[in-house]
Structure formats: structure tokens, C-alpha cells
């Protein structure tokens, strides 16, 4: 009997799996769930579709199909579409301002240095990352200024009046946030300090620079700041704006850091105390690295704000990218109404940069978020 079981086992053969019903897979089912799940939903979908069908072809036609891409001057633009020749003809101005053409490599070099330092700060081995990248960052603005100005390095001197364009926006924002970093850290520490005077001074400083419109700060930089220096001192316009941006930024960043400090569990402070570290050892070696890590998304968000705010410089007459665009639009050779092309172009540049940075910020945030919500 036992043998029969062995020699004649009952084989289990599952029935061939049926395909999922047509109503749950495929594009039709997806559309039914996501676009036409109820009558109001279907109405909204049709409404939006009609709207898109009305606008999108026209926009595509204007941007790509009937637009003009080649040519050197306005006469090339005869079609109804966008005149990208305008953007092409002015592109060097948009990116580099009036910087001399044969010296543009210096602007590029500064941008490349900035890029390299940023990449290094992410890729260096963790054991000496902070020790190398922090000094590099702090030296960078001054190296860039030396390269762009040229006098110190024995290069041809380029006056700051000729600096401009989008590269100025980028470098200005970077230089401001880098120098603001240590300051904001000090203000944040001051605001958390036990010393009442230090605390109140920090609070007044932070709230002043956060509460005042940026434009008022720029006016202060261009009209009031010269009054503060001794008679006869002539401080460069860009340096004054730089100082203003640094103060503005350190006010905002101090609040970001304060949030970071509050996010560090008190056990970290107590552990550092218990192994006998002094105040600065504790702050710089234990707390600060953690604060920078947890505040990274907010630091990036603040930087995006600063970067967008650099276009405000046009109001005090500094030739950053938007000011260059306005100059180009009022140029007598280009009076054909290219406003939309110009704004779209500058808008897209800013959008790509800012959107990229917000994506980066939310990625870091997701990586840091170890909670189990949802």
C-alpha cells in the first residue's frame, strides 16, 4: 500500500491563470479610474482637455513651428512665431553682461570653480569632507573676485560696471550665502545663548533683516551705506549690494539654523557635556555637523529664495540678467516687440535652476525622513 502512494503521486496542476479583466487593466481602465470616475469628474476632464486643446497647439506653433531660429538681426523674423534670433543675438549679454569677449574665460573659470567645490563637498570621503570643503567654500568668493577683477593676479582689470548677466546672478547669490553661513550660525547661537544681552541683540538683528522688504535693504545699501563710511571712501556698488545680501541672508539662515538646533535631541548636548567637551568643541564637533545635515532642505529653499531675489538688483541699476533683457528690449535695432520671447527665455533659465534645487531639497528631505507616517 505504501508503495502505491510513492509510485503514483497525485500531481497538482493549477489551472492556467486567467488574464485580468479588461475593465481593470490597460489605458481604458486607467482613464476610467483617473479621468472619468464620476460625472462631475468626467465634466472637469473634458473641460480641461478642451482648454488645453485650445491653447497648446497655438503655443507650440508660436514657439517651434512658425518661429525663426536662424539669422543675425531683426529682419530675419518675418513669421508669426517667436523670434528666437533676438535671444540668440543677445545670449552673450544675457549670460556674461558686458564683460569683454576675450576675457569671458575668467567668468567661466569662476563658475567652474564654484561647481567643482560644490561637487567636492558631496563626493569627498566623509572622514575629511568638512575639513576640506569648509575652507574651500570660504576662500572661493574671494578667489572668484580676484579672478574677475584681475588686478591681484596681474590680469587685465575689468571694472565691476562690466560684470553682469546671469553669471552675476549666480555668483552673487553663491558669494552671499557662503559668507552669510558663519554669520548666521553665530546669530543663531546668539539667539539660543543664556546671555541676555547677546540674545536680545541677535533677536533684534534677525527680526530686522527678516522683517524689512528686500528692496528697502537694497536702497539702504545703495543710498544709506555710503553715508556710513568715512568721508571720501568710495565703496564699489557691487560690494555694497553684496554686504546687503549677506546681512539679509544671515537673518533668514539664522532662523533655519535655529530650527536645526531645536531638532537635535538634548541627549547629544548632554553626551558631549558628559565626555567633558567645552562649549566650542561641543558646538563645532558634535552639534554643527548634525545641524547642517538636518537643515539642508531648508538651506536649499532659502538659497532658492535668495537666487530669485538677485533679480531685484535691477531696481538699483545693476546689469543682472533681467536688467540686460530690459536694455535689449529697448535697443533701437530690436524694437519689434520681443518682450514675450525675452521673458520666456529668462523665466525658463530661472525655472530650471530653481526647480532643480527644490527637487534636490525634497530628495534630501525624503532621505532624512525616517518616520513611519502613512
Amino acid at each position: 500500500m505504501a508503495n502505491t502512494f510513492k509510485s503514483d503521486p497525485i500531481e497538482f496542476k493549477p489551472a492556467v491563470a486567467q488574464p485580468a479583466p479588461d475593465s481593470t487593466v490597460g489605458i481604458v481602465a486607467w482613464m476610467r479610474v483617473n479621468l472619468f470616475s464620476s460625472i462631475p469628474n468626467a465634466m472637469f476632464t473634458i473641460f480641461i482637455m478642451l482648454g488645453l486643446a485650445n491653447f497648446i497647439p497655438g503655443i507650440i506653433d508660436w514657439m517651434f513651428i512658425s518661429s525663426t531660429w536662424s539669422g543675425v538681426n531683426q529682419d530675419a523674423c518675418v513669421g508669426d512665431g517667436a523670434c528666437w534670433v533676438f535671444v540668440k543675438a543677445w545670449s552673450q549679454q544675457f549670460f556674461y553682461g558686458s564683460y569683454a569677449t576675450d576675457q569671458i574665460w575668467r567668468v567661466n573659470l569662476s563658475l567652474i570653480l564654484l561647481f567643482v567645490v560644490i561637487v567636492l563637498s558631496f563626493t569627498l570621503p566623509a572622514s575629511y569632507r568638512l575639513k576640506v570643503s569648509v575652507p574651500l567654500f570660504l576662500v572661493l568668493p574671494f578667489v572668484c573676485i580676484a579672478i574677475l577683477d584681475g588686478r591681484l593676479l596681474g590680469l587685465e582689470h575689468v571694472n565691476t560696471d562690466f560684470w553682469g548677466g546671469f553669471s552675476l546672478n549666480v555668483l552673487m547669490a553663491a558669494a552671499a550665502i557662503i559668507v552669510a553661513f558663519p554669520f548666521s550660525f553665530l546669530w543663531a547661537l546668539g539667539r539660543r545663548s543664556d546671555m541676555p544681552l547677546a540674545r536680545s541683540i541677535s533677536v533684534v538683528f534677525i527680526e530686522f533683516f527678516r522683517g524689512v522688504p528686500v528692496l528697502a535693504l537694497f536702497f539702504m545699501g545703495s543710498v544709506m551705506l555710503p553715508l556710513f563710511f568715512a568721508e571720501g571712501t568710495n565703496v564699489d556698488k557691487l560690494v555694497r549690494v553684496w554686504i546687503v545680501l549677506i546681512f539679509f541672508m544671515s537673518g533668514y539662515m539664522a532662523e533655519v539654523f535655529r530650527g536645526g538646533f531645536q531638532a537635535i535631541p538634548s541627549g547629544q548636548y548632554e553626551a558631549a557635556d558628559s565626555i567633558g567637551l567645552g562649549y566650542w568643541q561641543k558646538t563645532l564637533l558634535i552639534i554643527l555637523p548634525q545641524v547642517i545635515k538636518v537643515s539642508m532642505p531648508n538651506i536649499l529653499a532659502t538659497f532658492v529664495m535668495l537666487f530669485k531675489n538677485t533679480v531685484f538688483l535691477l531696481i538699483i541699476g545693476i546689469p543682472e540678467v533681467l536688467q540686460t533683457l530690459l536694455t535689449a528690449l529697448s535697443n533701437s535695432n530690436w524694437l519689434g516687440g520681443h518682450a514675450i520671447e525675452g521673458y520666456v527665455f529668462v523665466g525658463v533659465i530661472f525655472w530650471v535652476c530653481c526647480f532643480g534645487m527644490s527637487m534636490l531639497a525634497s530628495n534630501i528631505e525624503k532621505k532624512l525622513d525616517t518616520s513611519h507616517r502613512n
Binding site: 522688504p213 528697502a216 543710498v223 535691477l314 521673458y343
Partner: protein
Amino acid sequence: MFKQKTTEQIKAATRKTESGSHAFYNNPKYRAVIYQTLLIAGLAYFFYTIIGNTLGNLEAAGIKSGFGFLGNAAGYDVLMSLIPFESTDSYLRVFIVGFLNTILVSILGIVLATLLGFIFGVMYFSRNWLIKKVSVVYVETFRNIPLLLQILFWYSAVLATLPGVRDSLSLGEAIFLNVRGLFIPKLVGQDGSTLVYVAIAIAIVAIFVMKSWAKKRQDETGQQFPLLYASLGIFFGLPLLATLVAGIPFVVDYPVLQGFGFRGGITVIPELMALTIALSVYTGAFIAEAVRAGIQAVPHGQTEAARSIGLKEGKIMSLIIVPQAMRVIVPLLNSEYQSLVKNSTLAAAIAYPDLFNVFVGTALNQTGQAIETIFMAIIVYFAVNMFISFVMNRFNRNVELVGR
């Protein structure tokens, strides 16, 4: 023996520390005093230097400091003014005109931005894929483009392409839109219109009274009162009734084409339109993001729990999700409103006559009183922002989690 000696030594060492034979500069108390003294001394020296320099510079430039210039005639005209203004009026009047214009654009911006923000923020949670994507595209597009660029875009690329006065777009021959601005009819109150204004005031008071009565009744008896419909009824019904009783004491002043422009009605200048549109679209994107964050911060378990006790979907939203989401949204709204007010200074780029433009811009140029004008403007922005903060904090106290 040996062990005992060690303990003795330790004790001795400890005693030494306690008795304070260490240098006084290692005592945190003294240290704090020293640091703060140094800080104050440094600051005092800093301010002493800059004040000295400033006075010296002002003297060299021949500018008399002080607020005396406020009484002088301004000598320039302002593009738009909510109160009567002539170029012979004083700088103080310019200040008030600018202030009112700033308040006007701020209120318009805040109302529209809140509307846009809540609509697009809630749209993100739609089950309709297309609606959700529209919300995402709106937020990501307008949040990541500098506001100044948007203002200039609306002003010189969109509104400047509107038709001229003679071929204005019109809606029922009452509302006109052209390159000179938007022209809308105005209601002019005649005799008896006071009754209607009184009715509006009574309606608002009545709604608050009714609200507290309904809450009290619900606490006592558990019966709910259809508050929303009743308030709407009172708010529109009472003034309407008053209007009819007083015999419709209003005349509509329509804008009419006369010569080269429109006369009558209310004129909304394109500068105001561009600034309002740009501010509200830009801030609306941030508010939409805040609303989305607030709703997402409510754990999904709350929805499930609400469903399990049998609440309807609409009630879940209004009774469970929104009150909890508001705790996150309100503080964010507070800072968005404040930055909207601060951003309204960008009016300078398109010459909308806000406080900053007419006062810090033009008045400063004419008088050279840099410190006084900037100081006055900054005080105003601080005051407005403190007011917003005060109102929003009061509101926040209503939605906050009550700890028991």
C-alpha cells in the same frame, strides 16, 4: 592604605576646585559678563563711528536732517490716489497716498492669493489625474520664477498687448478692458443709502451672535444648526431688504467712452492689475503648497476613523481633516501674507505708486533725506506685518490643539 591615600588625594583635588582657586575667567558667570561687555563696547563703537560718519557726510552734502521736509510741497503728481491729491500737497500727504495704495494692493493680493492657493491646494487631492496635474504644474511653474520677472511679464508682455481705447473688450457695455486699464461701473449711494450700510453692519453682528448661540445650543442639546446657510441668508438678505425698503437708493455710474478715454465708473490702472495678478499668482502657489502640506500632515488614520463612525465624505473634510490641517496651514499663511506685503514694494519696477515707489523712490530723490524716508517706510512695513501677525495669531489660537 594605598587606596585610602588615593581617595584623599581626589578629595583634596575636588576641594581645591570648589574653593575657587581656579582663575576667575573660567567661571561661566564672570565670562558671560566679560563677553557681553565686550559685545556692547564693540557695538557702541560701531554705532558711534557710523553716526559720526553719517553726520559728517550729510553736512558735506548740505542736507539738513530731520522730518521738517514732510511739510514741504511735493511738487509732483501721483499716478493713482485713493484720496484727493494735487502736486502742491505736502510730502506727508504723499506718504499717506502711498501707504493707502500699498494697503489696497496688499488686501487685493491677500484675498486673491488665498482663493487661488486654497483652490489649487485642494485640487492636488482630486481623484482626477488631470486636475491633480494642473495643480502641480501651477505650483511648480509660478513658485520657481522670480516675482519681479512675473510682474514685468504681466505688465509689458500681457497687459500691454490689450486693444486700444477705441476697440476695448467689453462685457455688456458696462465693463471695459483695454490697454489703459479696466473700467468698471461704480455704485453711488443716494439719500437713504445709510440704511443699507447700517443693515450690513447689523447683519455681521447678527451672524456672530447666531454663531455663539448655535454653539451653545449644540453643546447643551446636541442639535446642530445650519449655520452656513443661515449666515449667508442674513448677510445677503438683510441689506437687500434694506435696499428695497429705502427704495433702491443707488445709482450706477457706468464708464462711458468720451473723446480719448473713459469717464465715470472706477478705473483700475494696468499697473495695479499687473501687480495684483503677479502677487496673487506667485503667493497663491506658495499658499497652495502650504495647504497641500497641511492636508498631508493629517494622518490617513483620521480619515479611516471618520469613515468607520459613518461620517459622510463632505463632513469628513469639514469636521475632521480641515480643522486639523489648519493647524499647519495658518502659521504658514501668516508668513506668506507678510512676504506678500513686503514683495508689494516691487511695484517700483512698473511705477505703481505704492509707498515705496512714491516716498522712498521719488521723495528721496528730490529731497535727499535718505535716512528719514527709508526709516519711515520700514516702520510702516513693520507695523503692517505686526498687524498681520497679530490677526493670524489670534486666528491660530482658535485652530490650535487645546492641551488638557
